[in-house]
Symmetry: C2
């Protein structure tokens, strides 16, 4: 058994993203990623099942933060207040220093249909996990699914805005603004523009 390399995962992640961004995801091999930071392919595969996993590492923490956030909402909270609590918990996983990494990661994903697919599934997974957690709190259908899907939509829009060039607000602040917009949708003449372009 090879010895454990301290910080190997983070070095592999940074190196992988750099290679994906400069030479393309398809053109980059696991061996190449490992070599670029002086590690072996075998070490790579102790940390990630394949090169795609480098980009989706931490998804379980992401879902868990969302569910933990749901749980901290008071029992009398409205479905949307529960979602607001979950959004704040998950958004706080992305401090501003992660913004450059997130931006580069997104540009790699945007260029590859299979990775875009996987990213869509991640948000769909967030919605179905959240719906189950809301039902477990006693929120009936269709409110549970509606609130959960809305939460995933708000997160997707807020995240896309957070990594936009020139954006300075934190992800929790943007998520809060977008959720507020959702509540305002039933008001006529919604013309404010905290987000300035299409999501896709």
């Amino acid at each position: 058994m090879a010895r454990w390399e301290p910080g190997a995962r983070e070095r592999l992640q940074a190196a992988a993203l750099e290679l994906f961004a400069t030479q393309g995801f398809e053109q980059t091999t696991a061996a190449e990623i490992a070599e670029s930071v002086g590690l072996t392919e075998r070490t790579f595969f102790r940390h990630f099942s394949d090169k795609r996993e480098v980009l989706f590492y931490g998804q379980q923490d992401f879902l868990q933060a969302f569910v933990d956030g749901l749980d901290t909402a008071p029992s009398e909270a409205s479905p949307l207040e529960v979602i607001a609590s979950a959004l704040q918990a998950v958004a706080s996983l992305f401090p501003d220093e992660r913004r450059p990494y997130a931006r580069t990661r997104q540009s790699v994903i945007d260029q590859n249909p299979a990775l875009r697919e996987r990213e869509l599934h991640k948000l769909a997974g967030l919605a179905s996990t959240a719906a189950a957690a809301l039902r477990a709190r006693g929120i009936a259908e269709p409110a549970a699914t509606l609130a959960a899907e809305s939460g995933a939509t708000v997160f997707g829009i807020a995240f896309a805005q957070w990594i936009r060039e020139g954006e300075r607000r934190s992800l929790p602040d943007i998520a809060s603004d977008v959720l507020h917009e959702l509540v305002s949708l039933s008001r006529a003449g919604t013309r404010s523009a905290t987000v300035t372009g299409p999501r896709r």
Copy 2:
């Protein structure tokens, strides 16, 4: 050039769905579908590019109905009122006599991951088409994307409920109920249950 077969498309669709449901989507060939209604494989391919298309025929009409519905909303309508108008237009494409067909179609789709994927893309396409149409009406982001995604979510939930065994309400009525639930999400204690199970 072979002569045009009147009603061939509808006969092929009915035959295909019957075969997909009884012997499985994967196990059914285009030639078999055509033969079962006394038509040639060549006739099949004049109507559908492949057997999958039989299940997704009419998607353009579906998107068009949604956009036409958006256009009929008065210019001072709130984003959600615009979506309500679009939902009514698209839901009216599914009269109650289509319910048995829709139910069988869904059971075929549910059993095949690639078909489920395609169905998800259909709803995602609905959302992005709707968002573009809302922006064209002067609705700013993120309201346009939020309203469009909410419209797609409401349609998905309403449709799943419409084809549930025992459901008697029309799709336009269910869509209207689900949209009303969406507006109520910010109210505490949402415990009504017009839809009685998880979406997925």
